[in-house]
């Protein structure tokens, strides 16, 4: 009887393992093979085509620049929002609910919302024209205005993706025991010191999860960029999409997919090493 029992946990997780193996690992292996093979033989031809494509360097640079800009800003905003809501008593849920509205909107819809604001005939130009700041329609999203385009995409991404970071950080803040803060207050620590010395170290696990999640998602940015930038602002996932859909070359698309996966895994590893979490605080 006891012998039989030992198998039960494995039996219980078997369906999920089989499910993942079938729908995740098999396609993953197929994708990697597609990326590193040419006519059935091992080859670097696809990687070579990817690297030498006119949009490769730009898409790599754009993706990294966007991640470097968007992720820190989002973490900072989320920390501020989380700290603010911690002080609120009544109406806290309502405020959180309103703040998380962008989470409920699909990527592409968010991109289209910002497109309606920023395009030539959009709301921004109407407002600027109304105030007499511009005389006629001004383009913000064309290849001739790369800086404005970059900031437009960054703002749209920040608007769309901050809520998920905030939710994780609020959950982390809720776990910080009140006693620590009260004790610090008694010893005369100001709000800034309390934040740096008590809150921040104690929400490390939440911060780590938020950073990993958000950075991986930032490397996979696509729909917002596609809606706002089109071919003016190539990013890695967008190039994978183009090779798959427009150029119908599944192998080069697979090479991009593998590259994105490697970058995401590397970023996760960096966060796991860089932000040390006290083992006792792990669940």
């Amino acid at each position: 009887m006891t012998n039989d029992r030992r198998w039960i946990p494995y039996l219980l997780i078997l369906p999920s393992v089989a499910f993942l193996a079938l729908l995740f690992i098999v396609p993953l292996v197929q994708t990697i093979w597609l990326a590193v093979s040419d006519n059935g033989a091992l080859s670097l031809a696809n990687a070579d085509r990817m690297v030498n494509d006119i949009n490769f360097t730009r898409s790599l640079r754009n993706t990294f620049l966007l991640t470097l800009m968007v992720v820190p800003v989002q973490i900072a905003i989320a920390l501020v929002m989380g700290s603010m809501v911690a002080k609120v008593g009544r109406g806290r849920e309502t405020i959180l609910w309103i703040w998380t509205i962008p989470l409920g909107i699909s990527d592409l819809a968010a991109g289209l919302v910002w497109l309606s604001i920023l395009q030539n005939t959009g709301y921004l130009n109407s407002v600027l024209f109304g105030f007499g700041i511009i005389e006629r329609q001004t383009g913000w999203l064309s290849y001739q205005t790369p800086v404005a385009l970059f900031f437009a995409i960054a703002v749209a991404e920040i608007w769309r993706g901050t809520a998920i970071v905030m939710v994780i950080i609020v959950a982390g803040l809720n776990q910080v025991p009140k006693e620590f803060r009260e004790a610090a207050e008694i010893f005369g620590a100001g709000p800034w010191t309390r934040f740096w010395r008590i809150t921040l170290p104690l929400i490390r696990p939440a911060l780590q999860s938020a950073l990993i999640l958000r950075t991986v998602l930032a490397f996979e940015v696509f729909a917002v960029v596609y809606a706002l930038g089109g071919r003016n602002f190539p990013v890695l996932v967008g190039e994978a999409y183009n090779w798959q859909n427009q150029n119908q070359n599944y192998s080069v698309a697979a090479a991009y997919a593998v590259l994105i996966m490697v970058i995401s895994l590397a970023a996760t590893l960096v966060y796991l090493k860089a932000i040390k979490v006290d083992p006792e605080r792990l669940p």
Binding site: G139, S142, N232, Q248
Partner: protein
């Protein structure tokens, strides 16, 4: 009891998925996708032809679906309607039923042999039946005509005149007023293959990097100074035209139709400009084909015969703006917008310097990469201002490799070749 219930659910699910396959002729199309057009197909064009399920699919998903059905050997699609270039990869994999009997009948019934031959896709047997045709034209808002350079006939525009016109429009309105569909889903690649290259070089592949091509690109650079930079965001020119963002635009007639049909009095429609070698233009053909393994061949054949009758072809033209492949005269009471477009198509075909450019043949599934050669050259030369000679040389190398890989012989207007079409 529980077992009976779950069995019942299972059985009903299976039936729900299986029954339409058994009862209907499934017709998958990459054309006439917007809901208004699909409704016209379902409720008007496919009436009295039996139980047909008209399903629309975006081109990339269409390719994936057909390939999946072919590999699995489990066919649900009886009939496909798609562009010449989308059917070419299927023919390349021998996935289409030969339709020679049907082609013979249609040739006798008034379909021009030249049009029918496109449906062979370079193979000995008929791969698809030409269903509808279209082409690309230019449209302008009538206000723009007052800035047309003196003595210019809009129906016989040259590149120099277009540049002059664009310059005057920009001076008068303060911003560039010409637009091209160079967005991610725009058909800009066809502009280069069917209009720009034939007009400037008299070829598409052979003449890709010669001195004439270089001169053409310099001319396009001059024109681009008066083209709105938002062009790289435009997919369908009817939208910026209707919104007043541009006054002059080039695009596929189906992608201009909404703006022009909505207010036909506000627009003129005319042929694309001519270059030193003539007025290049490219007819677009959508075809009907029966995939090998089709579960209802008889039903599919019946639908093809129905859609290629003169009455249905005329109805198609007046309701959705694609023109007949049969040799029939368009009716007088055509929708005014469609009549404007039809007028420009006739003006293009009958212009003295017209130079027809066929759709690429024999590229198989490399059609996308072929387009990329031209679009990459465009991005590098026009948008990134790289030196013309270097870019053409680099892209010519890519094009040479592509032609060698696919072994595609030259098509018009390039001179015929024995082997793969050479880049000179």
């Amino acid at each position: 009891m529980k077992r009976i219930v779950s069995f019942g659910i299972l059985a009903s699910t299976v039936l729900a998925f299986a029954s339409p396959v058994l009862a209907q002729t499934i017709f998958v199309s990459t054309q006439l996708r917007p809901i208004e057009e699909a409704t016209v197909v379902r409720e008007e064009l496919l009436q009295d032809v039996g139980d047909v399920d008209y399903v629309v699919e975006e081109p990339p998903q269409f390719a994936v679906r057909m390939e999946a059905e072919r590999q699995a050997g489990k066919h649900t699609v009886s009939l496909v309607g798609a562009l010449h270039g989308e059917l070419s990869p299927l023919a390349d994999k021998n996935a289409l039923e030969p339709l020679d009997d049907l082609a013979k009948k249609l040739a006798a019934g008034g379909m021009p042999q030249a049009v029918l031959d496109l449906g062979k896709l370079g193979k000995p047997n008929q791969q698809y039946i030409p269903w509808m045709q279209a082409t690309y034209v230019m449209a302008a808002r009538k206000e723009a005509l007052q800035y047309l350079p003196a003595g210019t006939d809009v129906n016989a525009l040259s590149y120099d005149q277009l540049i002059e016109w664009g310059k005057k429009l920009q001076e008068a309105t303060g911003q560039p007023q010409i637009g091209f569909p160079a967005g991610p889903k725009g058909l800009m690649a066809r502009y280069f293959q069917g209009y720009f290259y034939p007009s400037f070089t008299g070829g598409v592949v052979r003449t890709f990097q010669g001195a004439e091509a270089a001169a053409g690109w310099e001319k396009l650079k001059a024109l681009w100074a008066f083209v709105t930079p938002n062009s790289t965001n435009y997919d369908f020119m009817q939208e910026p035209l209707a919104a007043g963002e541009v006054m002059v635009a080039w695009d596929h007639i189906a992608r201009l139709k909404n703006a022009i049909s909505a207010s036909p009095d506000d627009y003129v429609v005319f042929p694309a400009p001519s270059g030193p070698k003539g007025r290049g233009y490219m007819p677009v053909v959508a075809g009907l084909a029966i995939p090998k393994g089709s579960p209802d061949k008889a039903g599919a054949t019946k639908v093809i015969e129905h859609l290629t009758t003169p009455d249905v072809q005329l109805l198609t033209a007046s309701r959705v703006g694609f023109f007949p492949t049969l040799n029939v005269k368009l009716p007088e009471d055509l929708d005014p917008g469609v009549a404007l477009l039809a007028g420009a198509v006739t003006a293009t075909q009958t212009s003295k310097d017209a130079l027809i450019s066929l759709l690429p043949v024999g590229l198989g599934d490399k059609g996308g990469e072929f387009n990329k050669v031209y679009m990459d050259a465009f991005q590098r030369i026009i948008l990134r201002n790289e030196p013309v000679g270097d870019v053409l040389k680099a892209q010519a190398a890519t094009l040479t490799k592509l032609m060698a890989d696919t072994k595609a012989p030259c098509w018009a207007p390039d001179a015929k070749s024995d082997g793969p079409c050479p880049v000179q």
